[in-house]
Structures are given as C-alpha cells and as structure tokens.
Symmetry: C2
Subunit: 187 residues, 2 copies
C-alpha cells in the first residue's frame, strides 16, 4: 500500500515506517460513487487508493467543484479538516469501484508520538503536496484553458475515461462547455 511518492526514499528507514502504518491501516472496498467523507463533519482518515479513482469536492454557490483527484498509489482526504481538526468543507468520494487503505488520524498521531523519527516522512509528504499546489497555481496563472487540458491529458491520459467531464472541468477551473469545445477542436 506504499504511496507512489515514497518509492524513491531509502528503503531501510522506510520499512519501519511502513510496518508501523500497516499495523494501523485497514483495507476496504467501495462501489462507485460511495462517499468516504461528508462535508460538515470532521475527517479522521487518510485514504490511500490501491485501486480506483477518488476525488474531493465541495459546493461553491451550489455548484459541485472538484478540488483534488487521486488514482492508484495516491492519497486523498479532507485536508482542511485533517490539518485543522475541525469540520470540513470537502466531500470525498470514489468515482469508480475502488479498494482503499484507511489510516485513522488519531492512531497516526499516536505512532508519531511514539516514534517522532517518522515525522520527517510526514514532512516529506507535506512538502510534496505543497509543490503540487504550487504547480497548480502556476498552471492557473499562465496557461489557457486549452493548455491546462492538454497538460492534464499528458500527465494522466487515462483519467478522462474514468471520470466525468464536468469534474475535470471544475478541477481545471474551466466551464464544462468550454472544455467540451476544446475537446471538439482536437483531431
């Protein structure tokens, strides 16, 4: 159940971390469209996708907006709630039938209290997702709707077959109609 981003790290040190987290993780299967976390409640889990696709979304002026998408080997959660320990504005749902590892936050904290040397991996994890957001900002600032779409296709070609166009559109910050036209203009 190792996260993709950890695969480059020194195996020896990592093994203990993984063992400790394996010990508190549980595996679940969910059918398509299952809500893993509901907005307005506190989120106490990190979800790691073994198989399938999941997204976080929220409602902005009544519209469903996708904030994050995760596929195999990636993690997803209601990050605001997990960080600030309060009610979340995000929902998390699986978009396909999925197999998910759950790590409960309180147990994770306990592991980190007992073995603070693991904290540096959490730090590494946060650094990675921070850089992901920085990339996304640059994407929004400097690339046109069309370019953003092309970059997503380049990065995750399979995603477009696996998730609704409307979700892709809101994730990219484009109206669904514009995204549809962009697709039509290709080939």
């Amino acid at each position: 159940m190792i996260l993709e981003i950890f695969k480059s790290l020194p195996a020896a040190e990592l093994a203990e971390l993984l063992a400790d987290f394996q010990a508190i993780a549980t595996r679940h299967s969910y059918p398509k469209n299952t809500l893993l976390h509901q907005e307005g409640t506190r989120c106490d889990h990190v979800f790691i996708l073994e198989k399938g696709v999941a997204r976080t979304f929220y409602y902005k002026d009544g519209k469903d907006v996708t904030a994050h998408i995760a596929t195999e080997g990636e993690s997803i959660t209601a990050i605001d709630s997990l960080i600030q320990r309060k009610k979340s504005r995000y929902n998390v749902e699986v978009v396909e039938d999925s197999v998910v590892m759950l790590i409960a936050y309180p147990e994770m904290q306990q592991v980190l209290e007992q073995k603070p040397q693991h904290e540096k991996y959490i730090r590494f994890f946060l650094e990675q997702i921070y850089m992901d957001l920085a990339d996304r900002i640059e994407n929004l600032l400097f690339y046109t709707a069309k370019e953003r779409y092309e970059r997503l296709v380049e990065d995750k070609p399979d995603l477009l077959q696996r998730i609704n166009l409307s979700h892709i559109a809101s994730y990219l910050g484009i109206s669904q109609e514009t995204l549809s036209r962009i697709r039509a203009s290709k080939e």
Copy 2:
C-alpha cells in the same frame, strides 16, 4: 523573532523550539532591493522578516512574476530549493529596508535530527503554508480580478503603499493595466 503563525501554540513546548532555533539564527539588515537569494543557485536559508517586506519572484517568458510576499512576522524562502535541495527558479529580495533573521537549512536539519520532537512544529508550519496555497487557488478559480484585488486590500491594506503595483499585479495574476483600471474605478 517568533513567526506569527506559531503564536497560538502551547508556550511551554514552543519555548524550547524557539531557544534551539534562536541559537542557530542570525540577524541581518538589508537595504531596499537587496537580493537575498538568486535563482539558479541552491537556497540554504529560511528568512524571517522582523521588519520590512520581501518577495519571491521568477521570470516567466522574460516577465518578472511575484510568487510570494512576506511582511513582519512572516517567513520567506526559495521553497522549491529548500524542499528539493536543488537549484531554485526563484529569487528572493527585500522590497523595503528590512531586518531579517536567517536560519541556515543544514543547521536546522541538525537541530531536527537531535530533537525530532521539533518536527511536529515544522509539520505545523508546512500545514499552514499549504492551506495558504489552497486559499490562493480558490481565489484564482472563483474570484474576478477586481475581487482578488479587494480581498488583498482587505487582508493587507498597507501592502499597496509598500510594494510596486506591477508586483501586486503579477502576484494576483492580473495584468498591470487591468489592476490600474480596477483601482481607478474605486472612489
């Protein structure tokens, strides 16, 4: 030299962290427009503003783009380089005459190796700057140029007197001309 965001944390635990970081921090004064870090080199410092204003910027298609702005009680660095330990694409400069605390990354790592219990504060720090980026993305996705400007004025009213309009514009993802017109349309 405490960071604004740490002020809400339990004082007792925090005191040791601060003492340990004070021990490796050095204070410097820089005149306006001094470059604290140059792109293409590895950044080995975190800068904490005691007085003044600083920004990170980079060149995108030859244009100066402001990525981050920090004022008193906030921190700034070439975050890509600090995280990934490689050459940075960012420059860091002070925009006003400033007093800055420097913390060298290698020494910070050493402190964290010796006292891994401090890692959780680093984690807290990363979580905070992560949420800042998430806010910025939402800002870009859902608010017009005018609204983004108004929100910045609301949040940091003094900034507009302290830093060039062109820097504010690129930070907000707006052309300088549009920002100028937005300002003209008010009052």
